[in-house]
Amino acid sequence: MSMNRRDFLKVTAGSSGGLVLSLSLPGCAGIQTGYDELDGSWTPDAWLELTTDDQVYFTLARVEMGQGTYTGLTTLIAEELGVTPASIKPRFAPAAPKYRNPLYNLQLTGGSTSLATSWQPLRVAGASARMMLIAAAASVWEISPTECRAVEGRVVHPNGRDNLAYGRLVELAAKQPVPKAPSLKPREEWKYIGKERGRLDAEAKSTGAPVYGIDVELDGMVYAVVSRPARYGARVKSYDDTAARQLPGVLDVFEIDRGVAVVADKYWRARKAQDALTIEWDNDGALDASSDQVFSSYHKAADEDPGESERSEGDFDDAQQGAERVLEASYEQPYLAHATLEPMNATAWYRDGAIDVWAPTQAPDLGRIAAARVTDLSPDEVTIHTTFLGGGFGRRLTNDYIEEAASVAYRIRKPVKLIWSREEDTRHDVYRPAMLHRMRASVSGDRLTGWHHQIVGPQILDWYVRNAAPAQYPWAPKFLYGTLGRVGLMAEGIATPKDHSAIEGAIEYPYRVPNLDIRHTHTDPGVPVSWWRSVGFSHNGFAVETFMDELAHEVDQDPYRFRRSLIDHEPRHLGVLDRVAQLAQWDSAALEGRARGVALFRSFGTYVAQVVEASVEFGEIRVHRVFCAVDCGQVVNPDIVRDQIEGGIIFGLTAALYGNITLEDGQVQQSNFHDYSLMRHDQRPEVVVDIIDSNESPTGVGEPGVPPVIPALGNALFALTGKRQRSLPLKATV
């Protein structure tokens, strides 16, 4: 969709009644953010609205799930517009094509892309508006715009006395030509970008005020819960709701696609009625795998199929034959749940031939598809209202909860809120895939001559494409949804991009080695999987950086120096590695009873090196300190960078120490925080984060803190015990 320049600028009556200067400014050519070069379109990405009563509204096209977009993106706009970030009123974007993420052509928040994809377009949007406001003021004063300055919501006259508030200039500004190449402020003039600033949503989030999905309240609202099969893919054979229907407050019980829904006037009554329900499931074709079988099927697949080559240099087989030693290891990682603290939920209301859905979703336009699929409505008849998210981590890219809420609302025609219990949330997640890695390296003397990495496991897009394809092709008639899904599966590269989810972080192996072979053996045990904070990097990081540690040990070198000697051609890698070694005082001895491990990993364009200091106390692994150096290019909000990196470290340590979803006869064994533990206050290490000063384009920080901490902890435990652990979660004794 290409837009005429004039379309960017609209003068309309605003909600406040005043005149509104709306500037919808798109992404622009030449930036590295995945702008669509094919049709040369500026994909509108932000919506700025200035009103005559001096309000500045900014439509956030990325959701706020804790990662700080609310503050970060608002800061970009504020900097260029010349107002304080706190004076801007952000609001969440509804599902609409103009809010799509240009990298995915979908309106979704994920992949640590919000800042990278908004960095240029939002500053351009702010700068354009500022220049038009200045031009408007200059025309009033009959002087040249270059003589005027914009300061905190006003245009200031060169005499220093006179000034005009933006609100008074709105009408005139809207008539100014849109600047062709708005000039962005040079770095020295930044007032907000790169400066320590609090989070704009901190006060609301400290008083219980923000409305998360679970807090949505509508007049006459009722509550729904859904009983789903314990085994993925099972269907309802029959159910008996006699007892349930007799309980107070129960309004209806009926079957939906994913199970049996109970609707009641109160949440607790719906839960009690659910307990009184008896359901017989048809397990024909349902998942029946157990975790052991998953891994044995992976090993079998790895034996039988060397997999597709994803990157190859030199000749690994030659290197192996000529090598003095060949080292081999395989690593196993379990399924992991997202465990957002706010469980899945959605509220829906079907009336007058259309449905409204309020949901904490990372992918609003996929939510429209999800609701349309289970009703007779078209996506155009579905409106998604995005709320604050109580954590996302990739879980809320899958809109199964919207599907359920829409099915129920469509049937009962009342506003209805659906809430998952924690147990349901844990058992019906779409998991970080279990993976197997087979590593081989050839060594001659103390030189690494060959690297071979075989990744074994599923691809996430296979599971996702069913939802994503129709959202990318909204013109497709509904009966085509299934076909589009299959096209995505079978003709990779046509309907869907190449899926890097299994191999990312492995194919970018950065160390110097003359012969290298990286392969993916694609095998899918049928367990639903999805993106999980840092995705493929989360498992490839463990495999690559643990094996590097094994190699260092094999050639009798210090793990830090071994890495260093193989990466001195990569300055940003080297920069974080050296910095973390300094921070952790690598060369001085660890405290009595403790040991240190190091790991270096780049993900989402961000370079991270970490040193973990750990011990084993009273039969438990104790992580004392984590040192971290991060290079994420130019920094918009250093405070949020540190905060996100530290959060990533806690998230990674949680996976390393406890994360383990297991299956038995197709059923997930874990249910709540007693058997799917999260790190608590009393287990938290001290975390030291140092940010490298950089002029490079900014890259994301929500995920890159996660991958290295897992191998760094494993490597520390090896240094402590002399025993190498090759599967997760890590144990105190092996």
Binding site: D201, G208, I214, D215, K266, F388, G391, R422, F673, D682
Partner: protein
Amino acid sequence: MAVSLTVNGRERMLDIDSDTPLLWVIRDELGLKGTKFGCGMGLCGACTVHLNGHPVRSCSTPVELADGGDVKTIEGLSQDGNLHPLQKAWVEHGVPQCGYCQSGQIMSAAHLLQHNDAPSRDDIVAALSGNLCRCGTYSRIVAAVESVVGDDAARPDREEA
């Protein structure tokens, strides 16, 4: 059953199933949504409120046990429009990420400060270890609590014992 509660200083009469967890009464009957549902089993602390001056997991407290009691939620923590010192510290330290756990964290911390003039870091950690944060904001939480230790405004001798 008929239940009477004093919530954030206001008396409320309700007719509600006696086994309904206090959490859902607070959220759905009284419309106070700042108290969150995380696990329903007393394992995460997101639902922490003060009942008769004690921090309780409202998800696991049937409303009949709270009958006649005095309840304070996050909405009742600030007084006369002034943020509680902990809330101010939360803003200053940029504590919340997604924010979902924070009401519970603050309610646990508020109780600690009410009863301990000078909690050590270990005391703080111990008082908060039942409050999970999936976003990993723990270090800032502890720093924020430490910053208000000794602040008298953190221990207004209000209705709590």
